[in-house]
């Protein structure tokens, strides 16, 4: 048993090392997966770029430009080497550096995720705590039902309803979430309003449920049960005893929520035409822009791996039982 041989005294160091290594392996696997995947796409970049008007001569010129005739593994290793040196390559479609294409989109994605979590987290976590305090009350049930309702709705339904109601009918917000720079900050507030609202509606249910569960699971620990036996009020127990203990799970839930808001909102980005990373990747897949697809994949994986690492790390700190790596000798 390899786990049993590990010295049990250094769980944190072990955790960091093993998770960093496994994160790296994940990144390599993901990028290789996407690299092979994109290379196997039907048709090629050259003809996708030129469309119907392509002449064989123009196609050949472009193919040579893009070095599409090199073998796959050469291109992958070349790419990986460059990435390690901070060079993401050149967009096949536009000839501009990938970082130049990608960074504004990454910023947009981050901005949307941050603004959305600013509204989402207080609502969802507050709701989750309240639901735990008044467990099985009408409030808990109503909250449970609404969160179930929102979990059941496809993201595009929420998006379309918002567009129809608040943009087409009321005219309060633009339906396409792109803003001219010329107007300053004002337009950005309007532009972000609908996607943020959609994300809060779609995302809060999950976070709220997780928070409620986290609090309730702390409540089921022995010393809280003891406190209950002693006759301390449930509200007091939760706010003074359970909450502090539930802080790190709640923190890691929040981190995972932010990660979700960055990487998993393609449908919302598309419904609102929001220029985020997900939309960039979808467009680039359609357009065969392999280098951009690669870089997007890398960033998604990087954000996801890093955020998960952080969340698990906090969860581990919070739960002493998980710190013991083995169950003793068999």
């Amino acid at each position: 048993m390899s786990t049993a041989k590990r010295p049990p005294s250094r769980p944190i160091r072990d955790f960091v090392i093993s998770r960093s290594l496994s994160g790296l392996v994940s990144l390599i696997l993901v990028t290789a997966l996407i690299f092979i995947g994109t290379a196997m796409l039907p048709g090629d970049t050259a003809s996708a770029l030129l469309g119907q008007n392509a002449t064989p001569a123009a196609l050949e010129a472009l193919r040579q430009d893009l070095r599409l005739d090199d073998p796959l593994y050469l291109r992958y290793f070349g790419w990986f080497w460059d990435v390690l040196h901070g060079d993401l390559g050149v967009s096949l479609a536009s000839g501009r550096p990938v970082s130049e294409v990608l960074l504004p989109r990454l910023q947009n994605s981050m901005l949307l995720a941050l603004v959305a979590s600013l509204f989402l987290l207080p609502v969802a976590i507050g709701g989750g705590i309240a639901a735990a305090i008044w467990k099985d009350s009408w409030f808990d049930r109503a909250l449970g039902f609404t969160s179930m309702l929102f979990l059941a709705m496809p993201a595009f339904l929420v998006g379309y309803i918002l567009i129809y109601a608040l943009s087409v009918r009321m005219g309060w917000f633009p339906s396409m979430s792109v803003a001219p720079l010329m107007g300053g900050v004002g337009p950005w507030v309007k532009v972000l309003a609908l996607p943020v609202l959609a994300l809060v509606i779609i995302g809060q249910a999950h976070t709220m449920k997780l928070t409620r569960t986290a609090i309730l699971s702390v409540l089921s620990t022995d010393y809280i049960l003891m406190a209950e036996v002693k006759g301390i009020s449930r509200r007091r127990i939760i706010l003074l005893h359970a909450l502090p203990n539930a802080l790190s799970p709640i923190l890691s839930i929040s981190i995972l929520t932010v990660a979700y808001l960055i990487v998993d909102v393609v449908v919302v980005e598309i419904v609102f035409s929001y220029p985020g990373l997900g939309k960039l990747m979808v467009d680039s897949v359609a357009y065969r822009d392999l280098t951009v697809v690669q870089a997007c994949g890398l960033f998604f994986a990087l954000i996801f791996v890093a955020m998960n690492f952080l969340a698990d790390f906090l969860a581990m700190l919070a739960n002493p039982r998980q710190r013991v790596p083995a169950r003793g000798a068999v």
Binding site: G43, R96, P104, V168, G171, S175, S273
Partner: protein, 512 residues
């Protein structure tokens, strides 16, 4: 069933009539106040992508047509619904040596956004670099038709063509042939046009402000222009309704009547020779059989497609690329129309049995996918079984189009009938996507091009259309009109035959 989304059929037809009227006489249709300056114009159109660049040789979509018409100028411009040629950067042009030599005189006082004057050297560079070795321009053939381009003076350019071409000035209105400073290699959007770029976010938007030194003094009224990448028709329609867009082009025709009824919005349409159709590959089984080709031409209900796919806005096609509104349209040849019984007869005669697989894709327009679904239903009534397969948009042009037996095709508008007939249907042309070959047709087209007498030329073109319609491998059911939406405060807009007032709406309009 006489309701279209709560609107009576009669009302629907009436408003369709109104839009047609407006297309015919756009200026008369709404009251105009005099031009005045100011405001920010937001335009939404499809065809932008994150891979775009400002190299004119890469301009190849409606979006880039609009950018070209906003940021740049061409030598010659096309205006209005009847394709009138107007001066652009060239104030006049004349032909000599039987159409082989063309001399252009440039306007005085035109400057680029950085202040440099526009000279004949810039013009020659801008046209000829489309034929450079690494060029992937869709206008390469036009540049390649020039044997020699000379700058006779800073304001006079002479093009000597390899072959006579009376359409050369019209071809120079093609939007990728816009004029940029000589020697430009890093493309930053410097042009001579009415607006200069202040921000370029590929696949998102372009922002531009008025070029104060613009050589046209009676144009460029609005202060700023924003061209939004609105590739999704639903997003375009919503943004137009919510007031985010002042002008939205290429709207879904089925929603035209509804959008036009909204307060503060007007909708009109223009006719175009662009078409979505079906290719029957004529050089191999099963469609090397002329009876089978005719069976399918009679098995498609063109009226139904016009009504359902184009909301009644369009003209019936006769399986040639020439639309009824084209001066060269052959009106007196037999029209292929829906006749399930006759189609069944031809189908039986062809000896083919089994299922036909029709490949289609969003790449060939959303209308193509809808048309394929309807075609399947129409053909079923004639006992012909069609299996519709939707292919992914990417790879469609390289893997399916022009390759497989039965698939959707899409041809954009070409400036002349000769161009589309030659490119798409003569034997051995690289663009011949049906692989149809007919010596009589080739002879008619060649003879027409060299025929100086107009009546005789027309007779040749009529013969060519007759052969193509009865024997060819393409099904052109309908030429759909293009629908555009405008906010009422936008004034001065004159519909053309291409989107956004032949792409030059930005310099044309003002806010009431």
């Amino acid at each position: 069933m006489n309701k279209v989304c709560g609107l009576s059929r009669r009302g629907f037809l009436q408003s369709a009539g109104v839009t047609a009227l407006m297309a015919a006489a756009p200026m008369a249709a709404f009251a105009q106040s005099g031009p005045k300056r100011g405001g920010t114009l937001a335009i939404g159109i499809e065809g932008a992508s994150t891979g775009d660049s400002l190299d004119p040789r890469s301009f190849n979509s409606p979006y880039w047509g609009v950018v070209s018409g906003t940021i740049f100028n061409t030598l010659v411009e096309i205006y209005g619904p009847s394709n009138e040629l107007r001066p652009g950067l060239a104030k006049s042009w004349e032909e000599s040596e039987g159409g082989k030599r063309w001399t252009f005189d440039l306007v005085e006082g035109a400057t680029f956004h950085d202040g440099r004057p526009v000279t004949s050297a810039d013009v020659i560079y801008s046209i000829m670099f489309h034929d450079a070795e690494d060029s992937r321009s869709n206008s390469r053939a036009i540049a390649a038709s020039v044997a020699e381009a000379k700058a006779e003076s800073p304001t006079r350019v002479v093009f000597d063509l390899k072959e006579a071409n009376y359409f050369f000035p019209a071809m120079l209105s093609n939007y990728p042939l816009c004029i940029i400073p000589e020697g430009t290699t890093t493309f930053d959007g410097i042009g001579s046009g009415p607006y200069k770029i202040t921000r370029f976010s590929p696949g998102e938007m372009i922002e531009a402000v008025r070029h104060e030194g613009y050589f046209k003094t009676d144009a460029a009224w609005v202060d700023q222009v924003v061209i939004l990448a609105a590739n999704d028709p639903a997003a375009r329609a919503s943004a137009f309704q919510s007031g985010q867009l002042h002008i939205a082009s290429m709207l879904e025709s089925r929603t035209a009547a509804l959008l036009g009824q909204l307060p503060g919005k007007q909708v009109h349409s223009y006719q175009t020779s662009q078409f979505a159709g079906f290719n029957l590959r004529a050089d191999s089984a099963p469609f090397d059989n002329a009876d089978l080709r005719m069976a399918l031409k009679l098995a498609i209900d063109r009226e139904d497609i016009l009504a359902r796919v184009y909301g009644g806005l369009g003209r019936i096609g006769n399986d040639t690329p020439i639309p009824p509104n084209d001066p060269l349209f052959a009106a007196d040849i037999p029209q292929n129309s829906y006749d399930p019984e006759k189609a069944a007869e031809y189908f039986k005669k062809s000896g083919f049995t089994g299922t036909l697989t029709l490949q289609t894709s969003e790449a060939a327009s959303a209308a193509a996918v809808d048309m394929a679904a309807l075609f399947r239903e129409h053909a079923a009534k004639a006992g012909i079984t069609i299996d519709v397969v939707r292919e992914p948009a990417d790879g469609y042009w390289s893997n399916v189009w022009g390759q497989t037996a039965f698939h959707s095709t899409l041809w954009g508008a070409r400036p002349t009938a000769d161009m589309i007939l030659t490119t798409a249907y003569t034997s051995g042309s690289p663009g011949n996507d049906t692989h149809w070959s007919n010596a009589d047709f080739d002879a008619a087209v060649t003879a027409a091009r060299a025929e100086p007498d107009e009546a005789k030329r027309r007779a040749y073109y009529t013969e060519a259309q007759r052969i193509l319609s009865s024997d060819g491998g393409v099904i052109v059911p309908v030429f759909g009109d293009v629908v555009e939406g405008l906010s009422v405060e936008v004034q001065g807009y004159v519909t053309g035959t291409q989107p956004l007032a032949n792409y030059r709406a930005a310099e044309q309009v003002w806010f009431a």
